[in-house]
């Protein structure tokens, strides 16, 4: 197992190199660079621009820039953001908090109800609740995030029950600690519901389908036939086997934790990673984009690895294949 994990981790390195090379190429290939906005500004002298070009290394061809950047990254220096004049990780760090708050809340929301809903629907197949859940699931899968977010904002603005965007209220600093918590929860409802509906639907349907598949298997019938109590048949046998794909999805969810949700963040004015990357991409803030993309990619790869490890932990058959 350990050898497998180590091998996967080593394999990650060329992939990350590829990701960084490709991203760097794509961003460098875009017409213009960050200094364009200075060039059209007549109050900045050409000498200054030249100096800045030299400072950021923008006067060299892009592959030289890439190699320089790579050398610095290996040393642990991810460079400065052009726009904020700060080390990129300082900026990412600040946004990371908001993104993590949102994605962790969403995960808690999804994982606390979706599997239960799926199990319930499978055990009461074709009941009213089952049909209602699958309607909700289809709507949840099909509704675009940004449309749901706008609908929620409309609802919030009309009723005044929820804030229309942002992460904290103006008087956040004056609130006692429980007030701060409540204020945060109040703000996070909209984004969590928006992101939650989509994720919820997928997991619920998967859980239902898997459990139904297992309940039809011979071993379940055998367990019933030998007089095992229904609770044990369902929860100790069928469910244990049905849960595997769900664990894989859990891993994928973890891989998306730091990714941020661009559209939802945009609509709700949530200061997360998604918006940071978009803004950085649009102003061609090269190093900031590179660092955030790399971070998301690392997360994606680690999440997939984690999914595999979790699966091996849950399923002895998979464990056997690994060793």
């Amino acid at each position: 197992m350990l050898r497998y994990v180590l091998r996967r981790l080593i394999l990650t390195i060329p992939v990350l190199l590829g990701v960084s090379f490709l991203s760097f190429m794509v961003i460098a290939a875009a017409p213009g660079d960050f200094l364009d906005q200075y060039r059209i500004n007549p109050s900045i002298s050409p000498q200054t621009i030249e100096r800045l070009e030299k400072q950021y290394g923008l006067d060299k061809p892009w592959y030289v820039q890439y190699l320089v950047w790579l050398k610095e990254v290996i040393r642990g220096n991810f460079g400065y953001s052009f726009q904020y004049h700060r080390p990129v990780f300082e900026i990412i760090w600040r946004r990371l908090g908001a993104t993590l708050l949102l994605s962790v809340s969403t995960m808690i929301f999804i994982w606390s109800i979706a599997p239960t809903m799926g199990i319930y629907a499978a055990l009461h197949q074709y009941s009213f609740a089952d049909e209602a859940f699958s309607v909700i699931a289809f709507i949840g899968i099909s509704i675009p995030n940004f449309f749901f977010a706008l609908l929620f904002l409309y609802f919030a603005a009309k009723t005044g029950w929820f804030p229309i965007g942002g992460i904290i209220s103006l008087n956040f600093d004056q609130l006692p600690w429980w007030g701060k918590l409540l204020d945060y929860l109040w703000h996070v409802v909209g984004p969590v519901l928006t992101l939650g509906t989509a994720g919820l639907a997928g997991i619920m349907r998967q859980m239902r389908g898997q459990l139904l598949d297992q309940l039809r298997q011979d071993y379940v019938m055998f367990a019933y036939a030998k007089g095992m109590p229904e609770r044990n048949v369902i929860y100790k046998h069928a469910l244990r086997n049905a849960i595997n794909p769900i664990i894989t999805i859990f891993g994928y969810n973890i891989s998306g934790l730091l990714g941020g949700a661009v559209l939802t963040e945009t609509v709700f004015g949530w200061p997360g990673m998604g918006r940071l990357v978009i803004e950085a991409l649009q102003s061609q803030d090269l190093f900031l984009v590179m660092a955030s993309l790399l971070l998301s990619s690392v997360m994606l790869i680690l999440g997939n690895l984690l999914a595999d490890i979790l699966l091996a932990w849950a399923d002895p058959r998979v464990r056997l294949r690994f060793s």
Partner: protein, 505 residues
């Protein structure tokens, strides 16, 4: 008897199974899937709407009309005076909100006939079209009175010409000769009276403001240029001009099916009335027409992108799965790298490479390329996996042993087996392309104004004041939702129908 019947049915089944083609069988199963069929019909209607968009649009989707910005969806009426008269609408008039100074468009109405008694006691009757009467305009006296417990004071008097009378006041104004609107909200009252504070002071702070409209006279213009003014004492009868919804009307020019120049549209109303089925946007463009034109982009982009994705996916995936070796190795590493970059960022980064200020048809083309670039790695990997496992199957091995060339084996033996999966996967992944386009356009990096796409139209609703005041801006979102839902439902049904286990049933 019943047993005989059963046997008969079974042999019929056998006949169908033996003599119906694969597609006929699939269709037979599909037809039984109720939701799937509904979804299919919805998709057919949506695509027909896209094809005949210009014929179905009452207005040119690009023409701005700044006098009718943010008009609410036009109310279509069917009855007049309790009688069914067919669909008709009333024209819009602008009213300024006295506090926020926001312009609101309300329904108003022209008069087509008015009868009554003038101030000298003589009866009169005017009707448009009769005696050369061309238009009827009402002169209305208008005064604002502030009231408080200590009395009331009139602070503003005006005479106004109303060629279109707001529908809300028409009955009282013409029936009783007077229309009173009372404002009670304190902010309203303050805003209305503050300009005349020196007058209003006399009665302390006013609690309400009455705005009174009184009928003064009718101005009738005749065809020969003559204008007559009739001072009114009372009105005995009147009727409102109705703008009927007409079918196959002539208006703006387009090319039917991109070929035949035409001016005929399915429906429309005469000016100055407007028929905005879904309201109008911030430039006063008809949302209904724009949604139809937007569907051309939003609905086709997914199809084109999926076609390209699948061609690439089938070719590369099939190739690397069938031949394996170092080609396979390189290909899989490339797909791995592409799949390790979060999708939406890659989408935007790729868009950033492409020039921004190009004509919209080139933007469209670029978006198709970007979207299919994003989709091919996943597709290739799945197809590669399927080809890998198919290669080991007996029938392929047999074909190999018989010495068939690789091309024949790939085309005749492997592709048909992958194809079922491909069709289902295509249907189920079209929504992600539609959402990709909508998302990019929503962020302002996709299709750009003045072209229409559903995502771009929805971007207007990002402004929270627009969103709360003009909720019809959300309608394009409902169309995205409906389309994605229909594709998902239909794809689901298709998956069931294509499953060989369900064919005999």
């Amino acid at each position: 008897m019943s047993e005989e019947n059963e046997v008969k049915v079974k042999s019929e089944d056998l006949f169908e199974v033996e003599y119906m083609s694969r597609w006929q069988l699939t269709w037979r199963v599909l037809k039984r899937h109720r939701l799937g069929m509904v979804a299919l019909w919805i998709l057919i209607v949506l695509y027909l709407g896209a094809i005949f968009a210009d014929f179905l649009s009452p207005y040119n989707p690009y023409r701005q009309s700044l006098t009718t910005r943010f008009a609410a969806p036009t109310k279509i009426r069917w009855f007049y005076g309790g009688k069914f008269v067919g669909p008709y609408v009333y024209p819009l008039i602008k009213e300024k909100d006295p506090v926020s100074f926001r312009t609101i468009l309300r329904e108003g109405s022209n008069l087509s006939k008015i009868e009554g008694v003038d101030r000298e006691g003589r009866p009169f009757s005017v009707e448009i079209g009769k005696d050369g009467v061309e238009s009827i305009v009402l002169m209305v006296r208008y005064r604002e009175t502030a009231c408080s417990s200590q009395g009331e004071v009139t602070y503003r008097k005006k005479t106004e010409e109303l060629d279109i009378v707001p529908l809300s006041m028409v009955d009282e104004l013409l029936g009783e000769g007077q229309y009173v609107r009372t404002y009670t909200s304190s902010s309203y009252v303050k805003a209305l009276t503050s300009k005349y504070a020196w007058k209003v002071k006399k009665i302390g702070s006013p609690k309400t403001v009455d705005v009174v409209y009184e009928l003064d006279s009718v101005i009738v213009s005749l065809k020969n240029g003559e204008v007559k003014e009739i001072p009114i004492a009372s009105v005995t009868d009147y009727s409102l001009k109705r703008y009927h919804v007409k079918f196959f009307v002539k208006s703006w020019e387009y090319k039917f099916l991109w070929l035949i120049p035409s001016r005929i549209h399915l429906f429309g109303v005469d000016e100055p009335a407007k028929l905005y089925l879904f309201g109008s946007d911030s430039y006063g463009r008809d949302m209904f027409s724009r949604i139809l034109f937007g569907s051309r982009i939003s609905l086709s982009i997914g199809i084109f992108a999926i076609l390209i994705t699948f061609t690439i996916g089938l070719m590369l995936g099939g190739f690397s799965g069938y031949y394996g070796g170092w080609i396979d190795e390189i290909m899989m590493r490339i797909t791995e790298i592409l799949m390790s970059i979060p999708g939406f960022y890659l989408l935007i980064a790729l868009r950033a490479i492409m020039p921004m200020d190009v004509p919209s048809h080139i933007t469209y083309f670029l978006m198709v390329i970007i979207l299919s670039f994003l989709g091919w790695p996943g597709m290739s990997r799945v197809i590669r996996g399927m080809v890998l496992s198919l290669k080991e199957r007996e029938f392929v091995q047999a074909a190999l042993a018989m010495g068939f060339p690789a091309r024949r084996i790939i085309w005749r033996h492997i592709i048909p087996n992958v194809f079922t999966y491909v069709i289902v996967a295509a249907t189920l992944s079209i929504p992600s392309y539609i959402l990709g386009e909508a998302g990019l356009s929503f962020l302002g990096v996709g299709i750009t104004e003045p072209s229409a796409s559903w995502g771009l139209m929805l971007a207007q609703a990002q402004n929270i004041t627009y969103l709360t005041n003009y909720p019809w801006l959300l309608i394009p979102g409902a169309f995205i939702f409906l389309t994605v839902l229909a594709f998902n439902l239909f794809g689901d049904a298709l998956r069931d129908a294509m499953d060989p286990r369900s064919l005999g049933a």
